[in-house]
């Protein structure tokens, strides 16, 4: 019987040692589920101020999608102008490459200019520098869904006279069931 007691005691002692040695690390990550977001230079960015409009101009027969998002001293503005458009509540789905005339994208940052904080372009998004894909439009609920990516390039001259090129990468952008307002003039 003494052997049984000793065995049980040793078993419990062994279990205690094993339990005491447990050390695990678990890392959980969560990204925003906001309907409008992008990855700017490697960091997730979801604007808290969003404006999304589709405007029909009867005189020019153009329809313009203007999507603006602003947060944390950063701003993205995307504009797509459809020509020969009709006055309907939706918007044509498709792939729109930046051309700086009918498809225009801007990446702005907030700067102090003469004592006032204003958003100014942080470089330029040249023709071919990005793409907006409108994948679905719900003209009844007035919601639009799509993706986008582009890069904005700026040139500067440093103190040594050398040209410094800065590229801001805006990747993995998406707008999902984003409400829009429709106007015509």
């Amino acid at each position: 019987m003494n052997k049984l007691r000793l065995f049980t005691f040793l078993l419990l002692a062994g279990l205690f040692i094993i339990e005491s040695c447990k050390k695990d690390t678990v890392i959980g990550t969560s990204y925003t589920t906001k309907p409008f977001q992008a990855n700017i230079n490697g960091s997730t960015w979801a604007p808290d101020t969003v404006s999304n409009t589709i405007t029909y101009n009867a005189a020019n027969k153009t329809k313009t999608l203007l999507l603006t998002g602003t947060k944390a001293q950063k701003q993205i503005i995307m504009k797509i102008i459809l020509s020969n458009a009709s006055n309907t509540p939706g918007f044509t789905i498709g792939t729109y490459d930046v051309d700086t005339t009918s498809v225009i994208v801007k990446y702005n940052t907030q700067v102090n200019q003469n004592g006032q904080y204003v958003f100014l372009p942080h470089g330029k998004v040249a023709a071919g520098g990005g793409t907006i894909i409108v994948s679905s439009v719900d003209s009844v609920q007035k919601q639009i869904t799509g993706t986008f990516h582009f890069y904005s390039r700026s040139l500067a001259v440093d103190s040594t006279g050398a040209t410094v090129i800065t590229v801001d990468n805006i990747l993995g952008g998406e707008f999902t069931n984003l409400p829009y307002t429709l106007t015509s003039n």
Partner: protein, 252 residues
């Protein structure tokens, strides 16, 4: 993984226990006069099952403990001072696990929402490890080879560690919150109710199935690095468990 092994071992032991009882009952032909109860001590091991808020994994419930089923074991004994009335005591170790990946992801999603952040990272370390030392009156019902022990006890819960989390919430490349919910180490009061069914294997050896309910208001939790009280904030972690164990007791 080891919880499944515990379940398997317990299942086998329980089946063996009842098979043994059935054999013993068959061979016992007549009821004998019950001899005086002898004081005993013993060892036990089994599963600690978290209950209530301690078990819940709800970001929006600050009492949620995210506790898991885990291993428990310890020593137990009773001294009979008047007929079937005794004074029982136990020392029990129990492990109630740590945050898993789903828990960490859930917390991260909660903080992302609470802070209106673009993303959050929750890093979880450490686990629930405690020892409780309890003492209380016990009454034993005896019938043949079976003894049913009922005990109410109180004592201390020594908390060695609780899960620790670091929360980092960011807006773009800007960190908007970085704080810790520290692991707790404290000694707090605890209460317990225990029911145990002992089967007499021989004059001085008993096989025991035991269920022990434990409650404690738990240790205070320190939060470090917070600049606001936004989001889930835990300041105290109650404990609530039911330990189901099997063991051997030895008469003194």
């Amino acid at each position: 993984m080891y919880q499944n092994n515990i379940k398997r071992i317990l299942t086998v032991l329980i089946i063996a226990f009842f098979a043994f009882i059935a054999t013993g009952a068959y061979s016992q032909t007549q009821t004998q006069t019950q001899p005086p109860l002898t004081s005993y001590f013993g060892f036990f091991g089994g599963v600690s099952n978290p209950l209530g808020d301690f078990k819940k994994a709800d970001y929006y419930n600050n009492k949620s403990g995210f506790a898991k089923k885990g291993l428990t074991y310890g020593v137990d004994g009773t001294w009979y001072f008047y007929k079937n009335l005794g004074l029982g005591g136990s020392i029990t170790y129990q492990d109630n696990g740590e945050l898993n990946q789903a828990n960490a992801n859930g917390l991260a999603a909660g903080y992302t929402n609470s802070y209106n952040a673009d993303n959050s990272i929750v890093t979880a370390t450490k686990r629930y490890q405690t020892v409780n030392i309890l003492l209380g009156p016990q009454y034993t019902f005896a019938e043949g080879r079976f003894l049913l022990d009922l005990r109410a006890s109180g004592g201390i819960l020594k908390v060695f560690s609780t899960p620790e989390t670091n929360i980092q919430a960011s807006d773009g490349s800007t960190t908007i919150a970085n704080f810790y919910q520290r692991s707790a180490s404290a000694t707090v009061l605890a209460y317990s109710g225990t029911a145990a069914l002992r089967y007499k294997l021989s004059d001085n050896v008993f096989l025991t199935l035991r269920g022990a309910y434990l409650y404690s208001s738990g240790p205070s939790i320190t939060n470090q690095g917070r600049t606001t009280n936004i989001g889930r904030i835990v300041t105290k972690q109650p404990f609530n468990t039911l330990n189901t164990t099997i063991g051997l007791n030895f008469g003194l």
